[in-house]
């Protein structure tokens, strides 16, 4: 018989980044007995990496800003396939969620009159991002962590969930293992909130850590929940590219918000070359105007470097492909040029972008106050995820909720910078509250012990197989998958390449089933990697199939064989479910039409 320890919770939150922490706090405040499972130590989750800021229409810097502008910006950025209800709630509630953090001890940078300072960011019409230099994510996660640990939440650190259990069509529990000893834990829970983040480790070049293996996406999918918008993967335009070992590490959009410009090898600001029609009215048509915008001139329009991330990433790729890239295959991002405009520019840069200064100095021997950075696109975020109800964050499986990056809808086809941090606050809270209400009203369900036994057995299989004679272990399979997704389902996609990717994923799935590991169950990263592989393969297949399905280009999804946006595709989401035969089923689900009052908001903001 399999050995495992059993824990009982009203609400189990899987993931302890911003969304998970905020959900746990909300569920606990609603009176639920809450368990919080985190794959790493508490406070190390990916939220800590967020740099630029949290978007909320506080109107502290520009009083023309309000929820209507933020809503319209989010919808425009998402190319109108967003869940509009989420976009509305997000824009309306983000300011309160940010102010709440201040009440819990967060210290944002200040305006001259002592309020929360806000900065410019791509796709946001007005300065909207509350921030702390370029370490906003750290401030947020630490604030939530330090507040959360006093709310009576049971924290299970360094614990990975491998399977969800349902009973009679609703959620019933989850099985996890602790990294330290490799022992199994069964969580019986009346409701479960997924806050597991993204899928970046499916790609070779990514800003994401080892944890980002699509766990929540895969857990939900196998538990019967629908996924949506999986084709929309965000490639952040500016990742480090040199030296090789730092490739993919994020360079915050805040650099451009503070006046940084993109140049090709000829020194040309190529972003002026191609400004999309729906942004033309809002974009500066000369360098001087762009500079004035970054310095707070309200009459100026934003520089083209601050167009949406999908567009900037593709523009960089174009420069590189057409032979105008930098020596190591990227372009130049230059903030040092502002010394021509500002006295004490070096000091200013270090104060505004301290961790960028530090990162380049330490890892690349580059002083960003004097020298341009070399940057290129890096896999950063997935807009797609678990299909949820806009108000409650409930998935299509009763009792199962999702919030933050692992949920779909808010960002549509492309996320605006800064909207992820506000996303996880707004919808983390909502998910936690609704999960607590579900637990209260619906009570618990039983977990089938046979299913638990089977899940434990499956998780231990890699040990039974032992290390392969040819030396092909979990790391090699993972690396091949990453290369496949990077090369064949990346920024620019074609049907033929993606068909090849599917074949390749099928082949790697076969191999993953045979992967064995050595050593024992105690803190064994080889074993952990072997278990994560199955999630990575599931989400890679979902991304690829959805990307083949959507025969147009929109936001983060660009098809070389269908380079134009197609209005018919603007009316549907691609939804994925696990079929009765275990195969992935795709469907095009119509997007509910915008109610007239929200349509009016979009029109007024055009």
């Amino acid at each position: 018989m399999a050995e495992y320890q059993t824990f009982e919770h009203d609400v189990l939150v899987v993931g302890a980044g911003g969304a998970g922490l905020r959900a746990a706090i909300a569920a606990s405040a609603a009176g639920a007995k809450v368990g919080l499972v985190c794959k790493s130590l508490l406070g190390k989750a990916h939220t800590v990496m967020a740099e630029g800021g949290v978007a909320a229409a506080l109107g502290n810097v520009d009083d023309r800003d309000n929820w209507r502008v933020h809503f319209a910006d989010t919808m425009r950025g998402g190319q109108y396939v967003n869940n509009w209800r989420m976009a509305e709630l997000h824009a309306r509630e983000a300011p309160d969620r940010v102010r709440e953090l201040e009440a819990w001890g967060a210290l944002f940078d200040r305006t001259g009159d002592g309020r929360i300072l806000q900065r410019n960011f791509g796709g946001h019409k007005y300065p909207r991002l509350a921030h702390v230099g370029d370490r906003t994510g750290l401030e947020m996660i630490r604030t939530l962590q330090d507040y959360g640990v006093h709310q009576g939440i049971d924290v299970h650190m360094e614990c990975t969930v491998v399977q969800l259990f349902t009973s009679g069509g609703r959620i019933a529990g989850a099985l996890g293992y602790d990294r330290e000893r490799g022992r199994f834990r069964l969580f019986r829970s009346k409701a479960i909130v997924l806050g597991t983040g993204g899928i970046g480790r499916a790609y070779a070049i990514t800003s994401n850590s080892w944890e980002y293996t699509g766990d929540g996406h895969a857990l939900a999918y196998h538990a019967g929940a629908a996924l949506q918008d999986m084709e929309f993967v965000q490639f952040h335009p500016t990742g480090m590219i040199w030296p090789p070992s730092v490739r993919g590490i994020l360079v915050t959009e805040g650099v451009r918000g503070e006046g940084g410009v993109l140049r090709n090898r000829d020194g040309k600001r190529f972003m002026f070359d191609d400004i999309p029609e729906n942004y033309r009215n809002q974009t500066a048509d000369n360098e001087e105007e762009g500079w004035r915008y970054t310095q707070g001139d309200k009459s100026a329009r934003r520089p083209p470097e601050l167009l949406t991330r999908d567009h900037v990433a593709r523009s960089i790729l174009r420069e590189v492909r057409e032979g105008r890239g930098s020596p190591h295959g990227g372009v130049f991002l230059d903030i040092s040029w502002i010394k021509r405009k500002l006295p004490n520019a070096a000091e200013h840069i270090i104060r505004k972008l301290p961790s960028m200064y530090h990162q380049f100095k330490q890892l690349a021997d580059i002083d960003i106050t004097t020298t341009p950075m070399e940057v290129g696109p890096t896999t950063h975020y997935i807009m797609g995820g678990v299909r949820v109800d806009g108000d409650t964050q409930s998935s299509t499986v009763p009792g199962l909720y999702a919030a933050g990056e692992c949920a779909a809808g808010l960002h549509g086809a492309n996320r605006l910078g800064g909207n992820s941090l506000s996303d996880l606050l707004v919808f983390g809270k909502r998910a936690g509250e609704h999960a607590a209400a579900f637990a209260r009203e619906q009570g618990g369900a039983s977990v089938d012990s046979g299913e638990v036994e089977e899940a434990v057995r499956a998780a231990l299989e890699p040990f039974d197989r032992g290390e392969a004679a040819d030396g092909r272990g979990p790391y090699q399979v993972q690396q091949e998958l990453q290369t496949t997704m990077q090369d064949l389902v990346g920024i620019v996609r074609t049907e033929a390449e993606m068909a090849r990717a599917l074949e390749e994923i099928g082949r790697l799935e076969e191999q993953a089933r045979r992967v064995g590991v050595s050593g024992n169950r105690e803190y064994n990263p080889g074993w952990h990697t072997a278990l994560d592989l199955s999630n990575l393969l599931t989400v890679s297949e979902a991304v690829t199939r959805a990307a083949i399905e959507r025969k147009e280009s929109r936001g983060g999804h660009f098809r070389e064989d269908y380079p134009e946006k197609d209005p018919a595709w603007g009316k549907v989401n691609v939804v994925i479910r696990k079929g009765p035969d275990g195969a992935m089923q795709l469907a095009r689900e119509p997007i509910r039409p915008l109610p007239p009052e929200l349509q009016a908001v979009i029109e007024e903001q055009k």
Binding site: V149, G473, Y475
Partner: protein
């Protein structure tokens, strides 16, 4: 450094004990110690235990001792090290070993739980918000840069050599208390705790913690010494004590 190999002498073991094992792996320009560990893990020792997350010096997970010095492995470039002899990599010695480079740091989380949490004054504005100027928050923002890598705890001789984990909270949590005590909005009083439960008197300001801080927080000068001064004012200054008895008000931050 291109296409060379180097030897990494990695501590392998568990709670019961362990030994150093040499691994030879290729090194290339720009590599950091964590890259070498990852290569070894992928090609030679799948079960080599190591914590890491961001690989950019922001999460504070990959703390270890490299050639005897507490470091973040992700921010330690190989070209800072002498590669003609083995590079020693071992776990932090202030904490019990779990496996290989992973240590049991749970004590740190337990300590934080015991520190009185943030307690703000009543809001300044009718809409429930506060007003603080940038100079007000600058000082505390320095402390809030802490990424909780625990390297300062690792190097602190009170913990490392004297093992006074039950009596002293260590530099990380003195910084945490300083961030709370100097927070412009906070009205809690942690000074009596500092003296007793937190054991601030054990620190004899050798500044080892400041020297290893990857975030360059001036731990000793900016956090610990001002806290020590508050303890002295509160408990060892007879005149100040009289004034306090009559005013009964917390010192303004």
């Amino acid at each position: 450094m291109a296409n060379e190999t180097a030897t990494f002498r990695v501590w392998r073991g568990d709670r019961e004990g362990g030994k150093f094992v040499d691994y030879s792996t290729g090194v290339s320009p720009g590599m950091v110690v964590l890259d070498a560990i990852h290569q070894i893990q992928a090609d030679q020792a799948n079960d080599l235990a190591v914590r890491w997350n961001c690989k950019a010096g922001k999460c504070g997970s990959c703390s270890a001792e490299v050639n005897g010095v507490p470091k973040l492995m992700c921010m330690t470039r190989l070209n800072e090290l002498q590669l003609d002899k083995p590079v020693t990599i071992e776990p932090m010695r202030s904490f019990p070993p779990v496996k290989d480079l992973v240590t049991d740091v749970s004590w740190n989380f337990a300590v934080k739980q015991q520190i009185k949490p943030f307690k703000p004054r009543a809001p300044d504005a009718p809409d429930g918000t506060w007003r603080m100027t940038q100079p007000d928050v600058d000082r505390v923002q320095e402390f809030r840069k802490c990424i909780e890598c625990f390297l300062c705890q690792d190097v602190c001789h009170v913990l490392r050599d004297h093992r006074l984990h039950q009596e002293f909270i260590g530099p990380r949590y003195l910084v945490h208390v300083a961030a709370l005590e100097m927070h412009p909005l906070d009205v809690e009083d942690r000074v009596p705790d500092l003296r007793r439960e937190h054991g601030i008197g054990y620190c004899n300001i050798t500044k080892c913690c400041t020297n290893v801080c990857p975030e360059h927080i001036t731990i000793t000068d900016n956090a610990i010494i001002p806290l020590k001064e508050r303890v002295v004012d509160e408990f060892f200054d007879p005149l100040g004590r009289l004034v306090k008895i009559f005013s009964r008000k917390k010192e303004a931050p």
